[in-house]
């Protein structure tokens, strides 16, 4: 396989778990709630997905359970933020520690277990297209599903009535309340849905990509997802591209090494963050305006 193709294959393979988490975080933040505990939601999703697959033998049931687990942990965040008035940046971190601790404790029994994992399934016809076939059409089912997830979230947010209500909850909750909707309920739903998507991302990591459970196996991918949402200016399709960009950054180093080149991973690792800051600087005002109003209140963006 030539280098660019291999890196693109790796980008899709490694970017998919981040993609789900970033889409989830987009939904949550669009409703005005940031969840720094996305990493924790991914972890509980990864463990629950793996454990339930181990006991049921069905990875689809596992992923579903992973989504529920991610959603439940996000619910803790939602309750603290929305009903108890706690600071959402802080409670996100609390949720992270909770997720890390719980999964390490209950996950020990699943290290070294074998499960009936998702396997790559080539799509007949398409998978044999040179290059493109390998990049796009030779993956596990959750990766194919992720191709639909980006557009689906976009459609939901920008073309559907629930999406309009959700964005309104994040922008102008007074208006929403005036029309008889409960911004509180919408936000709860958005945060939990965001956690569920992060849970699916975690489950993709454990039941498809790495095919193993190990404590703290997400290794910062949840934090990457949070950064990505900002990079993407809260837009789901841009978040998808961002996830693949991170995936490519992760795939480049092993691809080069396997060809005998030495490489420093860390210069590469920093690039996406520096680029994000650069984008924010150059598009500063425009990007700042892309931020949901509700979030700007969290970040206190008025005043200066």
């Amino acid at each position: 396989m030539i280098l660019p193709v291999e890196v693109m294959v790796g980008a899709v393979r490694g970017g998919t778990s981040i993609l789900y988490a970033a889409l989830g975080e987009t939904v949550s933040e669009r409703a005005g709630v940031i969840n720094l505990g996305t990493e924790g939601c991914m972890l509980v999703g990864a463990l629950t997905g793996y454990a339930v697959t181990a006991s049921t033998g069905n990875p689809w049931v596992g992923v579903l359970a992973g989504a529920v687990a991610g959603g439940l942990l996000a619910l803790v965040h939602a309750i603290l933020v929305l009903s108890r008035g706690a600071n959402q940046l802080a409670t996100g971190l609390v949720v992270l520690f909770l997720g890390l601790g719980l999964t390490s404790l209950f996950g020990a029994a699943y290290v070294g277990r074998s499960i009936n994992a998702f396997k790559p399934v080539g799509i007949p016809g398409l998978s044999s297209i040179p290059g493109v076939g390998d990049v796009l059409f030779n993956h596990d089912p959750l990766t194919y599903l992720s191709y639909l997830a980006g557009p689906a979230v976009w459609w939901l947010l920008y073309r559907s009535r629930p999406g309009l209500i959700l964005r309104a909850a994040g922008e102008r909750q007074e208006v929403l309340a005036a029309y008889g909707h409960s911004p509180l309920r919408v936000r709860y739903l958005a945060v939990v849905a965001g956690g569920a998507l992060a849970g699916i991302g975690g489950a993709q990591l454990s039941t498809a990509y790495a095919n193993a459970w190990f404590e703290n196996m997400t290794q910062g991918r949840g934090f990457i997802a949070v950064a990505l949402v900002i990079f993407a200016a809260w837009h789901p399709i841009r978040a998808v591209w961002g996830a693949y960009l991170f995936g490519a950054a992760l795939a480049l180093s092993p691809a080069l090494q396997a060809r005998g080149y030495g490489f420093n991973q860390f210069a590469l690792d920093a690039i996406p963050y520096v680029v994000t800051i650069g984008v924010l600087v150059f598009l500063g005002r425009r990007r700042a305006h892309a931020a949901p109003e509700g979030l700007r209140k969290v970040f206190e963006m008025s005043g200066t």
Partner: protein, 353 residues
């Protein structure tokens, strides 16, 4: 006055209830893991709180947390959110480590300590100041930039210790050579607590005094209360915001130096162990009151050290302490607000009106 006392009492009651709830929940939890909760808490109390060595370790662990917690509290007074403690701590450690690599063989130890402190405070201050400047010039929110800058700082540290600064005579693992003994922070008396704790205590006192009794502190609070009104009143809002962030970053940078020169002596991957994030939580637990921030930092350090007892005395897995910390934080943060109006930065304003 009476009303105030009643409010305080109610707040303290709620807080006590929250801690109790967290401890009971965790106790129930360890039962499922086959441990006896009463004995567990007894052992934890005995080997953490009643043990001089452990208390020393708590203070060592708390020192960088206190400084990084103040780094959140000072900007918060001006209405700024500094999520970048982690990065600023790392930049402080990197700066201290860098000047140490270059100079610790030539300068006397005491001078070296001062040089490292200056370098660390400068690096942390610049790292945070960058976020403040970006907010004022291109209006990029500082919570976002400080968060992103954390990752850049981590990658910078890793790059340095994997390549240019790696100890050529080391064992192949990514780390710098050890700091010269003379340049390390001295220990206090005959204890095992290094002078970094004194630095943290002094910093707490100084910040408390600055915020309470100087016009700078007063002006910060005015800006934090209503920036627009402050501007109309002729206050130099931009300079105040930058100063708050730079002071915060400098404190976190000092925290990194204290950890490096007091406990670690080498730059290593993962050396900061989420100090910045834990300190962020300490600051929020304490609602940004400098003295309470120091207290909260000591409390979180106490829980972290108590995790040793969970493993050694009760045979629980290492991760149990994360659950305990998570539960305590959930309970304390979820206990609800006392009647005092929370600062504007605290979460979303009441939703259903």
């Amino acid at each position: 006055m009476n009303l105030d006392a009643a409010r305080l009492a109610r707040g303290a009651g709620r807080l006590a209830l929250a801690y109790a709830a967290a401890l009971v929940l965790f106790g129930a939890f360890v039962v499922t893991k086959g441990a006896n909760p009463i004995q567990m808490y007894g052992d934890m109390w005995r080997s953490t709180v009643l043990n001089g060595t452990s208390i020393g370790q708590v203070l060592v662990k708390a020192s960088p947390l206190i400084l990084a917690g103040l780094a959140v509290a000072v900007p918060a007074k001006a209405g700024l959110v500094n999520v970048g403690g982690e990065g600023q701590v790392i930049m402080g450690a990197v700066a201290a480590g860098g000047v140490a690599l270059a100079l610790d063989g030539t300068l006397p130890g005491g001078v070296m300590v001062v040089v490292m402190m200056l370098a660390a405070a400068t690096a942390g201050g610049l790292w945070a100041g960058l976020a403040a400047v970006l907010r004022l010039t291109v209006r990029v929110n500082e919570a976002i930039t400080t968060l992103l800058l954390n990752y850049v700082a981590i990658d910078l540290l890793l790059y340095l210790i994997y390549q240019p600064w790696k100890d050529k005579f080391g064992s192949g693992q990514p780390a710098t050579r050890a700091l010269a003994v003379a340049a390390r922070l001295p220990l206090i008396g005959t204890s095992k607590v290094h002078a970094g704790f004194v630095i943290a205590v002094v910093a707490t006192a100084v910040i408390f005094a600055l915020l309470r009794w100087t016009s700078w502190g007063f002006r910060l609070r005015v800006v934090g209360g209503n920036a627009e009104a402050a501007r109309r009143a002729g206050l130099p809002v931009s300079a105040l915001l930058i100063s708050a962030m730079v002071v915060g970053g400098a404190l976190a940078g000092l925290g990194g130096m204290v950890h490096f020169a007091g406990a670690e002596f080498k730059l290593r991957p993962g050396m900061t162990l989420n100090f910045g994030y834990i300190a962020f939580l300490a600051a929020w637990l304490a609602r940004h009151d400098p003295l309470k921030v120091a207290g909260a930092a000591v409390l979180l350090a106490l829980i972290a050290i108590g995790g040793d007892s969970l493993q050694l005395d009760s045979g629980l897995p290492a991760a149990a302490v994360n659950v305990l910390m998570g539960l305590v934080l959930v309970a304390v943060m979820g206990r609800g607000q006392t009647t005092r109006r929370s600062p504007k930065v605290a979460g979303i304003p009441a939703v259903a009106s």
